[in-house]
Symmetry: C2
Subunit: 130 residues, 2 copies
């Protein structure tokens, strides 16, 4: 059993990765260090918002920063984020494939809502059917 405080720290880290805007920032930084303005112009969005997300990523130790003249360069500090994203990407794809596979199946057979019947509506909503 992992310590309670550790569970919360880990959850916080997942939560930080659980924002599309922050994922896009990390993805943008994959090519190397960039200034805030460069990131902003790459990812539609205003500068204060990007700055705040960068601050959150920095506090978590996921990105590092260094000032060069008048600009601040941010870069990915912990490459584990790419591994995490890759794993979650595959997992998401597996799940989507699983939904698709059973999407054409018949309705519920038992009392409990099973993956097959329950998730059919999910696939539908993803496709805008509902």
């Amino acid at each position: 059993m992992i310590h309670e405080k550790m569970v919360e720290l880990v959850a916080r880290r997942f939560q930080i990765l659980g924002e599309p805007c922050r994922l896009r920032i990390l993805q943008t930084l994959q090519g190397g260090a960039m200034t805030v303005n460069q990131i902003v112009s790459e990812l539609e969005g205003n500068q204060p918002n990007i700055s705040k997300h960068l601050q959150i990523l920095f506090d978590a130790g996921l990105v590092g920063r260094a000032r060069s003249r008048n600009s601040v360069f941010y870069s990915v500090a912990d490459p584990v984020v790419f591994k995490l994203c890759d794993l979650v990407c595959r997992s998401t794809a597996r799940h989507a494939a699983h939904l698709q596979q059973y999407a054409a199946g018949t309705g519920r057979r038992s009392g409990i809502q099973t993956q097959k019947s329950h998730l059919r509506s999910k696939v539908g909503s993803l496709q805008g059917v509902n």
Copy 2:
């Protein structure tokens, strides 16, 4: 560049893992399938709340479920969650160690708030100093 919708799906998955209660549920299920009541009695918390978290995990395909007589057994459907937790755990530990390492350093040297100076307050707050 990954597709926008994929970024949101991946973020959603991280977000689902970003709740301490859900992490504890997954951790509890690491030993094998359990009924809702078993999970509830293992993890302080009321039954409706656990049920709702289980539903969220189920919708994401992270856990599976099967009814047996009057009970519903939940189990981990995608073991990738353990790998993810392990990676994040190590990353969190690295970050904490990094904070500790520089916690005794002197204050800011340059205009920008660096890891060293900025995070000293973080370490302090973790220890309840602030």
